[in-house]
């Protein structure tokens, strides 16, 4: 059975042509980019070319891009690195309660170091409220970190306005764009972004490689000590094949952004409308308009997400759930609770994330399967009879 993969927010398949570009840098052009013989200088150039590709996609300069091991490390570097480098300016940071754990847990770590963190709440569609952001700002605020788009519900935050507010108050602005890169257009100048995190495997590039944009003039302390690579921001011998891969992958994603996003969002809208037409008592989580092209997150009342997910899995379909029973904490998704879902509705959530390889036929199979599985589980549910 060919797998129908609808979990493209978790990771994506590395494109074969990107893999081809990476291959020479494993065992042929394996040289360390820090050495100064000709072979190494060539590899060093390749690394810088990749930097340029990334920079060109987000309207940055080449020397404002630093390579990391992924989105998690980029977020850690942005939050901890900036906080520690700018401590004398203040100890207050503003973020939201729906950030990825890489941001939330970096903030928790900073709280232990004496920083004060404000976790902004979000409305029922997952948007932070700009007036609350303004109110949260104080003299000690040094950094605002709000994700470009949420990984669970797909809501796209008003990044440009957040950046404008930050800059009006002389505060730096970081955004976790891990889910947004390649899906929506990003321009760090236009959107007032000072730091931006990305991860290669979310846009058909390799895993274990990421990058961070740090605007010229923004001070960030390194968080791992070592041999001063990446302009002393991130020590460690460069992951050259990964670096080559992420550069070509982002370029390809950005060149095809409009075409892919249009096709993917049409498939998503089709899925959403069919589910709403064919299954009663469902709730679409996240905003209908300002949402990532591939994301469709539904709560199916009276049933539980892990059950839905596993029955879909037995039909060869990969999706994800925000249910407690699939988490290690036995709490449902904090993102779904943050948008005001009661626990029992959050338990029944299924996230579908459509990618560029999904076809209309696959989406049709997905829709039929979801209809069948939801029906089967509802017939088994003691809550369904009561709810009716």
């Amino acid at each position: 059975m060919k797998v129908k993969y609808f979990d493209n927010a978790a990771t994506t398949a590395l494109d074969k042509d990107i893999l081809d570009k990476m291959m020479p840098y494993f065992s042929e052009e394996y040289y360390n980019p820090s050495s100064i013989y000709t072979k190494s200088i060539n590899v060093h150039k390749v690394v810088d070319e990749s930097r340029l590709r990334i920079a060109s996609c987000i309207n940055a300069n080449q020397n404002e891009i630093y390579f990391t091991s992924g989105g998690t490390e980029s977020d850690n570097l942005a939050l901890k690195g900036y906080a520690l480098a700018n401590r004398k300016k203040g100890n207050h940071i503003i973020t939201s309660c729906i950030e990825h754990p890489a941001v939330i847990n970096s903030c928790k770590a900073l709280e232990k170091e004496g920083f004060e963190i404000t976790y902004l709440s979000v409305d029922e569609n997952g948007f932070i409220k700009l007036d609350e952001l303004e109110k949260a700002i104080k003299d000690e605020t040094i950094l605002i970190s709000i994700m470009t788009a949420n990984n669970e519900i797909g809501t796209i935050e008003p990044i440009k306005e957040i950046g404008r507010i930050a800059h009006e108050h002389g505060i730096a602005f970081h955004t976790d764009a891990v889910q947004a890169i390649g899906a929506i257009k990003i321009d760090v100048e236009d959107m007032n972004i000072d730091m931006l995190s990305m991860s290669g495997h979310k846009f058909y590039g390799p895993k274990g490689i990421g990058a961070i944009y740090i605007r010229k003039g923004i001070k960030v302390n390194r968080i791992n000590d070592g041999g001063h690579q990446e302009n002393d921001k991130r020590s460690g011998t460069e992951n050259v094949p990964g670096i080559v891969g992420i550069g070509y992958a982002i370029l390809k994603a950005c060149n095809n952004l409009e075409e892919n996003s249009k096709r993917i969002s049409e498939l998503r809208d089709y899925y959403i409308s069919e589910i709403e037409k064919r299954i009663p008592e469902v709730k679409l989580n996240g905003d209908r308009v300002n949402r990532l092209p591939g994301n469709a997150n539904f709560s199916f009342k009276y049933i539980e997400g892990e059950s839905i997910m596993l029955l879909l899995d037995s039909k060869g379909i990969c999706v994800s759930t925000g249910s407690a029973c699939s988490s290690k904490t036995l709490e449902p998704s904090y993102v779904l609770l943050s948008i005001g879902l009661p626990h029992e509705i959050a338990h029944g959530s299924i996230r579908v994330t459509i990618g560029k390889h999904n076809t209309k036929e696959e989406v049709d199979y997905l829709i039929d399967s979801v209809v069948e599985v939801v029906d089967k589980l509802r017939k088994m549910s003691p809550l369904y009879e009561e709810g009716k």
Binding site: S323, P332, E344, S381, E385
Partner: protein, 126 residues
């Protein structure tokens, strides 16, 4: 993550449904926590459980343990059924992941709740 037995009982649960004139019905769990189990028992004059049906809202292990529990108590006397433990149900399923053991507790509790309901009804009748 789950054993083949768990997946079998989850994908093909035995004894799903309701019993109209049940001798005892027990509902345990809480939708807020993600698992609710409702157990229906038909008990004859010799205190033998002649039929069992269940409905469950919950994860795969909650559904699988409900299903297995109904199989384990069918044909047993009420007293025998009261000895059913969540550990025994989990073992019959070739084990559950440690974080999922709490889901199996519900199966044991649902059986006990249904039997209690049966006994309360009998008390009222007499």
């Amino acid at each position: 993550m789950y054993s083949e037995k768990v997946m079998d009982h989850f994908e093909h649960p035995r004894n799903v449904g309701e019993i109209e004139d049940a001798s005892g019905v027990g509902t345990v769990g809480n939708p807020v926590c993600g698992d609710v189990m409702k157990m229906y028992l038909k008990i004859d004059e010799n205190e033998v459980i002649t039929d069992v049906k269940f409905k469950t809202f919950g994860c795969a292990s909650a559904i699988a343990t409900s299903s297995m529990a109904t199989e384990m108590i069918k044909g047993k006397t009420v007293d025998e059924a009261l000895e059913l433990t969540n550990k025994a149900v989990a073992e019959a399923l070739d084990g559950l992941p440690p974080v999922k053991m709490h889901c199996s507790v519900l199966a044991e509790e649902a059986v006990k709740a249904a039997i209690e309901d049966y006994r309360n009804k009998k008390l009222k009748e007499n």
